[in-house]
Assembly symmetry: C2
Homo-oligomer: 152 residues x 2
Amino acid sequence: MATQTKVSSRRMRQGPLLEFVGYHVRLAQLYVYADFMRGQPEPTMTPGQLAILILVHENPGMTQRVLGERMGVDKSTLTVALDRLTRRKWLRRVRSREDRRSNVLELTAQGVRQMRRMIAFVRRHERRMMTSLSARERRELVRLLGKLRSPG
Amino acid sequence: MATQTKVSSRRMRQGPLLEFVGYHVRLAQLYVYADFMRGQPEPTMTPGQLAILILVHENPGMTQRVLGERMGVDKSTLTVALDRLTRRKWLRRVRSREDRRSNVLELTAQGVRQMRRMIAFVRRHERRMMTSLSARERRELVRLLGKLRSPG
């Protein structure tokens, strides 16, 4: 480790990292995230915020607890994210009609508009990212990623 | 959005999210991360910490600035990560022999040991994750993830 030679190659040597599929998944995810955030029209949102808006919209009457469980996100992280969306007036917590002790999540009219606007943006972002993949390769990528998540 | 029906299905409806390859990449990455952290022997480290240890080890004489550029990580995030590894005595910043004004990164002997121990762990973690993928599918997944990152 004592040798001090300038790293001159354009890229770093990545050694054993390259044999790890998990590393390639992480690099792809960083790339997707950066591309998602790039050239986004105002008001911007993160992929995570869009996912919450869509999931709340698609699952009426869902509580914060259930959303957290299904997304696999811990309570405090989700609370911060929901507070942020609430402050932007895209989401609100309303008293459940079935269980007066619990709140369910719902989008505001503005939240629905922002969600739709972003879905259109993401469709363009995805087309841009996918230019080098054929339709078959795209389907294969999704299939293999799904297989990774459900081993055995 | 006003309808309040209990979400009774085991999984949420995910609507347009499912058509986005980026969403599948993110779900896979969350799965990989959770599996990486699970059952890890003490002292634990994150995938990001292991990546830094390997990259520093593989690229002797690299400065923090170069590492940040190559990893695509901003200065403050990387500083926090490197400080953490320094406090654990796995990494140190040493004065460059070529340019006395800059520091280069190197692993301590203990850092090298921890890195090797973790590489062995990650190989087991990867085998566990990959049980449902054939060798061909594994290679295809890596190839398609790489293609996603370099469009055109």
